[in-house]
């Protein structure tokens, strides 16, 4: 049976309405997810925890992203934005990242 309903099932992949400039960041976020989850079988709108993630892996992702951009972010940013697309948007809107991108 595959009737998991709206919970726990991936919605269709994001089609990229928010402009091309987010693509490099999205690719980086996605690549961090792949590294820690050790698979790439998840959609860009899929919840990290449904994809097999846990909070220790969140720390690994955020430490790596922070180091890459030379910025500090609170872990709760991830918990509030637990999909690739949401996290990409949240990071892009984050003051520290904006400053780092300048």
């Amino acid at each position: 049976m595959d009737n998991f309903g709206p919970v726990g099932v991936a919605s269709p992949d994001h089609t990229g309405h928010d402009g091309p400039d987010l693509e490099p960041l999205r690719a980086q976020v996605r690549s961090q997810w792949v590294d820690v989850l050790e698979h790439d079988d998840f959609g860009d709108d899929e919840d990290f925890f449904d994809a097999g993630g846990n909070s220790l892996l969140v720390a690994e992702i955020m430490a790596a992203l922070g180091a890459e951009f030379g910025v500090r972010v609170e872990l709760r940013l991830f918990f509030a934005h637990p999909t690739v697309n949401e996290l990409t948007g949240a990071l892009a809107a984050h003051e520290a990242f904006k400053a780092a991108a300048r």
């Binding site: 919970v7 925890f49 846990n54 180091a67």
Partner: protein, 765 residues
Amino acid sequence: MSASPTSVQGAPWSGWNETTRPFRDDATVPELIAEAARRHPDHPAIVDSDKRVLTHGELDRLSNRLARLLRELGLGRGSSVGVYGERGAPALVGMLAVLKAGASYVPLDPAWPASRVVGLLDRLDVTAVLTDRASLPSVQEFRWEVPSLRHVLCPDIPEEFSWSATFRREQVADLSDPPSGSADPLEAAGFQVCQDHVARFVRSATSAERPSVLEIGCGSGLVVEALAPWASRYVAVDPSPESVARSKEAGDRAGGEVEGVVCFAHEAAERVHGPFDVVVLAGTVRFLPDLDHLTGVLDSLVGLLADDGVIVLADLVGPGLGAGSGLRVPPRYVERLPELLPGVAHAGVHRRRAGEFTGEPAERYDAVIRVEPSRDRAAAPGREPLWTGHHIGLRPAGPLATGPTADDACYTIFTSGSTGAPKGVVVGHRAVVNLIDCMNRTYEVGPADEILFTVSFCFDLSVYDMFGVLAAGATVRVASAADLAEPDTLVDLLEQESITIWDSAPATLGMVMPFVEAREPAGRDTLRLVLLSGDWIPVPLPDQVRGAFPHAEVVALGGATETTVWSNHHRVGEVDLTRPSFPYGQPMQNTRSYVLDSGLRPCPLGEEGDLYVAGAGVGVGYAGAAALTAARFLPDPGARRPGERMYRTGDRARWLPNGDLEFLGRLDDQVKVRGHRIELGEVQSALLQCPGVRAASVVAPVGRRGRTLAAFYVPTAEPLAKAELVSALRALVPSHMIPSRIVALDELPLTSTGKIDRAALLGRL
């Protein structure tokens, strides 16, 4: 049949249980800490994130004053005091003061759902709660739900009244001044006063034909208009001169004379002379700073009433409603006013009838307060204040003459319960003193040490972090909630301050290590002792830690809340990365472990059995649960003193030929998720309380870096959105019990014996 002592003790293959070591078995926790204060009065005891320092001497004196107040309130040996507050120095001072008074503390987390806190306080018949400024509004809302709760103390408010500091005359006057052109300040604030309803309600509440009326907070005169023509006298009070002027005009228009007085609600009793048949507060309560202020206002107004007079509170909003910002008044508060205010004979809550209102006003309610005859009011004792730092500061700083004994309870800490209700584990002073003695001696913890305190004080790891470290004359550096939210900040603290000890579940350190490793090292020489416990320790973690902090020794510890934090410890040496886990190591001093069969006979070497822990660390039992206590705390066949008991851990284990113990799983559905001990049954029980859930089962799959919680449920109709279920769960259980995955199924798979097939569920993830 129980085994004879010799057969339990004499496990010839192991020196495991040769642990007897003298310690101060008549000492108590506050004695140890007071002795440290005498040795090092000027040494920092507590440092917080604002870099405020409390020395050992200051801690001693502050906690003495608070302990004296607690004792005056009748709290001493045998009482338990709730501690409900943010992580910070005030909570630590509070817990120590509770112990000095002779009582035991019950830590409660403000992040827990209020219903859980209320249930726990109620079960333990707690009579007093210590809180802080940030958490006080919640206590003021929920305290009325706990019949036993009489005293609330908020030591970090220095003023006499909780509201003094927040109550600014200009601010309230501004709020009350109607913006020009707008009809009423309440309406301007988006709050519609139900004018006709209030008028009818007031008329029905009094038996006087032409009553004298005092209105507190008359605003622009809506109620004046409706009531003044009917009153024999009408006094309108408001802090805004403009409102008072408008109300007088409204009275003139309606054909009733109105006396106006410009003052605040709590000043009215001094400025206005009674008696009145009716005092009305219509919508006004929303503008008051807190419930304590309201209580004070009502107390003063009671004195203005005629013998058959009433106070009418109209348009009250309960805590269940999110409408607007103002003060929310729990109906239980109103109902308990006769206990609170000696002059009040009765206080009734009047819900609004269905269909009378639409929208938000239908959810509001009204209340009528009736008083004792004047002569009884005059003789009545005053009400008990909210106890603040002002009252505490009036007490002497010297120690109380008496305190607890080593046999008394020290704390009650709650752990997850399989039936849905948390279990309160009661631990006595002697057990904690043994733990402190063992740790401080073994690891040479002394005044030069400083611990980074990251653990919630609702978990028993905090017991050593606070009391063990303070007893050593060392320093507790309290990490704030904000520090804990950002691992980089914790790394800053480890690098920039002189932290020497870390103590946490492996997961907490596991979340920090990626940030440590992502940074250039700077100042990593002070950390010397890393204590890890509460969960399986990832085998590579100690090497990671020692690689980053060259002077750090890593110690793996194990134990249960029921046996006082830790029962065994293992200094991690060279790590064999092919091993699945670290050994149990050595027993703590005066601690014994037995592997027994179902007849309580010792299992032979290598044979699996139930793990029991005995000795000085065994707790008192479960609070208010005699049957459960009797089932888990049994007579110790190897007792060293008469009456000693052993604790059935629920772990399966066996002795190895090298004298070590091997852990072989659990007898029950208890799991560890990120160091949190969780009964899957408690999570399942919470899910079943969520609307729309017909059946549920919870599993704890092991993924990379440890376990997570996953829930499966069968909806009564359509599957629910995950966010909806999560928010329903948040009202029932702490956040660490909320599954990270929630999956809807048509039905739960069953095994051939009719039980839920958890293995099949795990396969679906």
